[in-house]
């Protein structure tokens, strides 16, 4: 029991540390990449190549006034950023970063915990996050924030269905709910090629789920000032911001695990540490893809968003699940 606890604590400490640095430098990477897409220079003042920019941002946010509007619901207002951030981090508990390997004579998995219903856990946890956003919109007592919150919940509901069904096709194909099992099932070929439709649906709904462009209606600056973020400042704002980027990493990690073979790659069996490299590369590639999309596509209209979710993605994913079920039943 005790070694297990120590192992879990060490692993989660490393994980949280990695996520925090990852978040900080992801903000910089996003700004730099978007600048590249727009033929600009991007942040280059703080340190060489602007590498200290995240630090400067953090210091700035620390010293901002931590403002709570007078008529806001104080308890919920403070709680909302936490409800958004914590589930975003919790997802990483079941994601395998690499295969089993021996570290200092100790055999361990590069995964916090390998729950046998990991997929269920993921689906459950991701849905909590939206409560934070809706509550933030409600607690701010501000019409823009409220509209942002309502949009968030509507968007989540319409996209979570299709996303869940895309995951169901994954589970049907691999025949397991264990996340590491799903990765191992892709030894003979990534699910991206076996389930291309599910992969595309998962990616699109994922973008909507983490509110990236072109689905960033929740904070649409031009319509809603900043949506649910309008009344937030200082570290509370930073928490929301962190949640957003951690979700971005988390979604890329999920997509990698479900469809891109996770940590699998050539020579992984001989050098297990390579698995981490493959995993990081795949995640980075997906993050680049998201930034690329953000730098390209305009935000879609609200009714288009709804129509896409309910009239296109949901029927498609349903059909995909049906087809998968039939094929699995016939080949079993």
């Amino acid at each position: 029991m005790v070694p297990f606890l120590v192992e879990a604590i060490i692993k989660s400490a490393i994980l949280v540390l990695l996520l925090l640095t990852g978040f900080a430098y992801l903000t910089l990477a996003e700004r730099k990449l978007v600048a590249d897409f727009q033929a600009r220079i991007g942040p280059n003042r703080a340190g060489p190549y602007g590498l200290l920019q995240p630090l400067a941002d953090a210091v700035k946010l620390f010293f901002k006034e931590d403002f709570i509007p007078e008529y806001a619901d104080r308890a919920l207002f403070v709680l909302a950023p936490l409800i958004t951030l914590i589930p975003a981090i919790l997802i990483f508990a079941v994601i395998p970063f690499g295969p089993e390997l021996t570290l200092f004579g100790y055999r361990t998995r590069l995964q916090l915990t390998d729950v046998n219903v990991g997929v269920l856990y993921i689906v459950a946890i991701t849905s909590i996050s939206v409560y934070g956003i809706t509550l933030a919109g409600w607690a701010s007592n501000n019409k823009y924030a409220l509209l942002g919150g309502i949009r968030a919940s509507a968007q989540m509901i319409s996209y979570e269905l299709a996303m869940g069904l895309a995951i169901v096709s994954v589970v049907l194909t691999t025949g397991t709910l264990q996340v590491s099992g799903i990765v191992e099932a892709q030894r003979n070929g990534w699910l991206l090629f076996l389930q291309p439709l599910a992969a595309i649906i998962f990616f699109i709904t994922g973008l909507a789920e983490i509110k990236r462009a072109p689905f960033d209606l929740v904070e649409a600056e031009q319509e809603l000032t900043a949506g649910y973020l309008t009344e937030y400042s200082s570290m509370k704002f930073a928490l929301f911001f962190m949640a957003e980027y951690v979700k971005m990493i988390g979604f890329s990690a999920l997509m990698t695990t479900f469809f891109l073979g996770g940590y699998l790659g050539p020579f992984v069996d001989h050098y297990p540490a390579l698995g981490v490299v493959y995993f990081t590369l795949k995640v980075a590639l997906l993050i680049f893809l998201m930034i690329w999309i953000r730098a390209t596509l305009p935000r879609i209209r609200y009714d288009q968003l709804m129509a896409l979710g309910w009239k296109v993605l949901l029927p498609l994913s349903l059909a995909n699940v049906m087809g998968t079920a039939v094929v699995v039943a016939l080949t079993a």
Binding site: L33, A35, D36, F37, Q38, A39, R40, I41, G42, N44, W292, I293, A295, T296, L297
Partner: protein, 174 residues
Amino acid sequence: MVMELFRGLWTTLQEFVQTNLRGPVTYPYPEVKRPLRVRFKGVHELRRYSNGLERCIGCALCAAACPADAIYVEAGENTDEERYSPGERYAKVYEINLLRCIFCGYCEDACPTNAIVLTDKIPPAGYTRESFIVTKAQLLVPPPPGVPGTPQRTTDPSLRTRSIWEEGLVNEPI
């Protein structure tokens, strides 16, 4: 619609590659300044003749021509003992409010002696409103090398036949 999505992505990707190959189109401003055209209208300067006398005769035509009312001129009288410009009068006070100025160059056109000229320098930034009011001391260019500045004493007043600049007329410093 799907085709257009990919066309858009292709366009931005090309831009991305170009930025990484050829560098961005913007400049890291204070270190690298964008090359300006020679006729760019930037911050003003007050010019001198080759013997060091000021061209400005304090006529305030520039102030009258200025559409933004940015120039303030107060004229003073030249004497043979204390001479600033070839004419009867000179600009005792000459100020331009760069916050008002629209850099149209009308002052340049209005000036009868070509004293006020817009250079190709970008006006400096400042922290206070006062710092944007440039005075005569800041506007006036230094005299050419080896030539005294102003005021000067007229060596031989009888040589002076006209009230504007005459070639070869030399004054001495006081």
